[in-house]
Symmetry: C2
DNA sequence: AGATGTGATGAGACCGGTCTCTTTGCTGTA
DNA sequence: TACAGCAAAGAGACCGGTCTCATCACATCT
């Protein structure tokens, strides 16, 4: 009948202790599973606790122990399959080790990232995993270290920070992709990233404040230069609409590239759609390569050549390193660089007849 | 040179108070932004706080206020685009309202869900959003209500629970899909879901402990019965491998369905691959419909007919209802049923010549 | 027997905030 | 001048655990 909303306040150790006729300390020992208690007392306390529906207050516990058993994770966008996969890796490892995950979305905005980090620290997470939106605007990350909490970087390295990091082999991957395209005869290749703001003109790697992207662009440009091939970088593909606009602009003119490398699967998808809408055949008139082996890339026609990134493993690695730190492991910061693999599929199978 | 790890303990209100020459209560008033303090004192305290690098301890704050400013979210699998999109909706709303999100993965396992819920309650989240793995095994959800915390169900209704829920129009959607396929001439249609365990044989809606799936299957079966068409339900497509096996089994025999409805985009993707591998042309020999308008469904050849679910909005709606409760809104539980839309694409464009 | 050790329990401080209640000092008013 | 009224600040309890230290009974050792 009634929904029993106005239940009396939750039972505390003190309540249980009183009801069981023992001291608060003893009840706490039983309920908190520490110290040593006789079996008789233990059973009695446990029975009473059950009776009173005692539920521990983890907040109070954290308060005295100083540990919350929680790790904070700040990613750019959980909707991006890249991050959701990484987060899955993190939370699987975390759970196995008895940790919980507090998630925060930065939307790739440093201001949001800053406030997310601040809040996580205030909540006394034991450590953090962050994929920093910027690798220069990092004083909030340094702040964390000052509080004594370990932090691990995910996917994006920051040289200035002496912390554990798990990243992919971005530079080599991008270089390999560029080389592949060049070998296929392409002489005008573009790299499209969500980094930067829409409309921003690329002037050099210095414009790229996301470490992983900068590495990729550097690898890409290196390969292009090595082969005397034109390499263009376009920024600001931050959403479907913007990406579409850039794609149209890129593919429209005379100087349109014959191959495009998409910095993530969301961008690749939009490029794919744009090419279709503009009647630009893939791979004949346009080759496409995508960073991240998103599940759909193998079912399109043509299927899409991808850089397979160990995304889930990146999350796992980051979580493992962090948890080791939390468990007291000392030593110099480690930087795990996980290998990528270039999976060649239909979207790069075309040959460029004329431009050679 | 040194990494300054062994910093002295973080400053507390008491430290600030002492250094500023005021009482703890006054410093707390300034730092906690409550009560009334003179401007002179406020400025002095704030200056000292900055000097001492005071950072509030949200744990201690929550402890006395009883509110943590956090909502717990338990989903089946964040890696599933369905959930990652919903989680994004939740966290956007939460952040706007000043709440944080603690995420837990249940892996669609009730035991994990139970422990996740328990832990979230122990952490004193203010409220929970859960997409329950089972709609019968729910005593842990009832427990939550007993603690006085509101809970909102995401995507999956549970009749027995008098709580807010945000679900999609599953039954009608499934019915519409079935009708579409029947209108296209299909007389043998299968529905494939991740619900259940691999190998489990479907004996009736009672086998389906996930509410949304049961609704869909009921809508599907209804439509089939109404039209005297054979409708088959297959369970246990819980991962790529299992899905592939079921797909092979389903498509292999003489009694193979001419149309399959996939309960989520992960299943649809595997079905798509399986059909391709088995040289079963879509849509000519097999029609395919997918629940959830995953981004890739529009770029395959043929593109995939989908039930567009308002996933992000589902998350938003759930979060909004929960937060309203947290802000004190009373009243009967609400059940928001968000409309779906059937988007017809190439995968159902085929006609069935013979079987008619 | 007396000293020593040990296992079980109790008493109470403590973590870092919030919040209630009290005290203080100043202004306005009869 | 005396006192009400009020704003500002202080004292200290409290939240619900953990943890140190003290106490006590009883077994062991010399």
């Amino acid at each position: 009948m009634d929904d029993a909303k106005p239940q009396k306040a939750a039972a505390t150790v003190a309540d249980v202790a009183r009801a069981a006729g023992v001291s608060k300390a003893t009840a706490a020992r039983v309920l908190g599973r520490y110290g040593v208690v006789s079996d008789a007392v233990r059973e009695r306390v446990e029975a009473v606790a059950k009776e009173l529906e005692y539920r521990p207050n983890e907040l109070a516990r954290s308060m005295t122990t100083g540990r919350s058993g929680t790790i904070g994770v700040v990613v750019g966008d959980i909707e991006n399959p890249f991050f959701s996969s990484a987060v899955r890796g993190i939370s699987d490892v975390a759970r196995a080790a008895g940790f919980n995950v507090v998630l925060a979305n930065s939307g790739e905005d440093v201001a949001f990232e800053r406030s997310a980090v601040k809040m996580l620290v205030a909540k006394r997470v034991d450590g953090l995993i962050v994929s920093p939106a910027s690798d220069s605007d990092i004083e909030h990350l340094i702040e964390i270290l000052k509080t004594g909490r370990p932090i691990t970087l995910l996917d994006r390295a920051v040289k200035e920070l002496r912390v554990d990091m798990a990243t992919a082999d971005d530079r080599a991957a991008a270089s390999a992709v560029a080389q592949l395209l060049i070998d296929r005869g392409h002489r005008n290749i573009a790299y499209l990233t969500a980094c930067g703001v829409p409309g921003q003109v690329y002037r050099g790697p210095v414009d790229l404040y996301t470490a992983s992207v900068r590495e990729r662009v550097e690898g890409f440009i290196d390969a292009c230069n090595r082969n005397a091939v034109q390499g263009t970088v376009r920024l600001g593909a931050v959403g479907a609409k913007q990406t579409r606009a850039i794609a149209k602009d890129l593919l429209d003119g005379d100087a349109a590239p014959s191959a495009i490398i998409a910095s993530d699967s969301l961008i690749a998808l939009e490029l794919f759609k744009a090419a279709r809408d503009m009647n630009i055949g893939i791979p004949d008139r346009l080759a496409l390569v995508c960073f991240h082996d998103a599940d759909w890339t193998s079912v399109t026609s043509p299927s899409v050549t991808v850089v397979q990134q160990p995304v889930y493993q990146l999350g796992e690695a980051a979580a493992k390193m962090l948890i080791e730190r939390l468990k007291g492991k000392a030593g110099a910061p480690r930087h795990q660089v996980l290998p990528t693999a270039l999976i060649e599929r239909g979207s790069t199978a075309g040959l460029i007849p004329e431009k050679m």
